[in-house]
Symmetry: C2
Subunit: 209 residues, 2 copies
């Protein structure tokens, strides 16, 4: 399917068909798109949880204000954003670059030092905002790839932060759940699929200068 047609077909599903699961193969393709997401300085300041067991989905229901997607989706994806990038994380990242690209670690030091200096200049709040923004590129990639795979999605920010972090055993000193994405196949009786898409027209959204 043409990618614009796929994006037009996408909508935020309110009720999935609970009988239909996303296959492991398709799921892994969609996740690979998340893995390939661009991130600022390449730091990928997040981890991705894939909730697939009925027990864990059930546990999470009280954490959502509108849980109909949680109880019917095939998989729930939670993007967990880092609250900070410490020396340890940075060190591992640069070792990994060095190994992958076969470049001596020493040669990477100027880049590493400049990132370290930049990170050090950010407040905790700024660091988290930066990290969450990168997480939303992942969210975009997941939804886009799912649309191409004809898998339906619903991004969800409406959860109780403390409760979801607790249920998912997040180390809240270091990270937090930023956003979640339910994936699966739309239920035929989800009436929202029939509503016309509402998007700002070109002249309100774009300006050419």
């Amino acid at each position: 399917m043409n990618y614009l047609d796929a994006l037009k077909k996408r909508y935020s599903v309110k009720k999935f068909d609970a009988e239909k699961s996303v296959s492991s193969e398709v799921l892994h393709h969609i996740l690979e798109a998340a893995q390939l997401s661009a991130s600022s300085l390449g730091l990928q300041p997040y981890n991705i949880l894939i909730i697939e067991t009925p027990e864990m989905k059930e546990k999470l229901i009280p954490a959502f204000y509108n849980p109909s997607q949680i109880s019917t989706c095939s998989h729930l994806i939670a993007i967990v954003s880092k609250k900070g990038i410490g020396a340890d994380y940075l060190g591992k990242y640069f070792s990994y670059i060095s190994e992958t690209r076969e470049i001596p670690l020493d040669e990477l030091n100027p880049f590493k030092n400049s990132i370290s200096k930049h990170m050090g200049s950010l407040s905790e709040e700024e660091m988290l905002n930066w990290s969450q923004k990168q997480s939303y590129i992942v969210l975009g990639n997941l939804m886009f790839a799912a649309a191409l795979e004809e898998v339906d999605t619903c991004p969800m920010e409406g959860f109780k932060q403390e409760l979801i972090d607790e249920i998912l055993a997040i180390n809240t000193e270091k990270e937090k759940v930023s956003v979640t994405l339910a994936i699966g196949y739309r239920s035929q009786d989800d009436e929202f699929q029939n509503l016309k898409k509402v998007r700002k027209p070109n002249d309100k959204l774009f300006k050419f200068i």
Copy 2:
């Protein structure tokens, strides 16, 4: 091209081929993907500037820490995020939903009131962070669509905020440039295209529960 191959081919271009322009047709496809981006509550709290004249690109060079992309790209896209969602914006949004979906405005009131209440509960800081996160979904869609169109990109956060807002005549009481994306075609002598992609391996990025 398979979408995963397209994403694998993507990298953050440091130098574009200044002789090659993205055609108007391809540009409009990529922009349509931005228009179709999902956003929280459908509010699309952003506008998108497309800088295409050599004069305006030239003017923007001093606003970037690494301007080689600005001087060689075909188009520079700036996503401008709203600092708040006022009653006026919300009113227009709901009139537009009513018109597009042919639903009487009155029937939409409960949804409108709940959004209004939610927005009223956010601090200025929280509102801006929320709006910027939505802007990064757009950034993700732009990069993804460009990759499918075999158009190269470089997302850039490294700009001088005040200067870029001033040059682009942003009304900074109400909005700010969140992020920019240079698009065009990679220069054959941009050595960064030959580096192996560095991404966290599956077992570090994903956890299935």
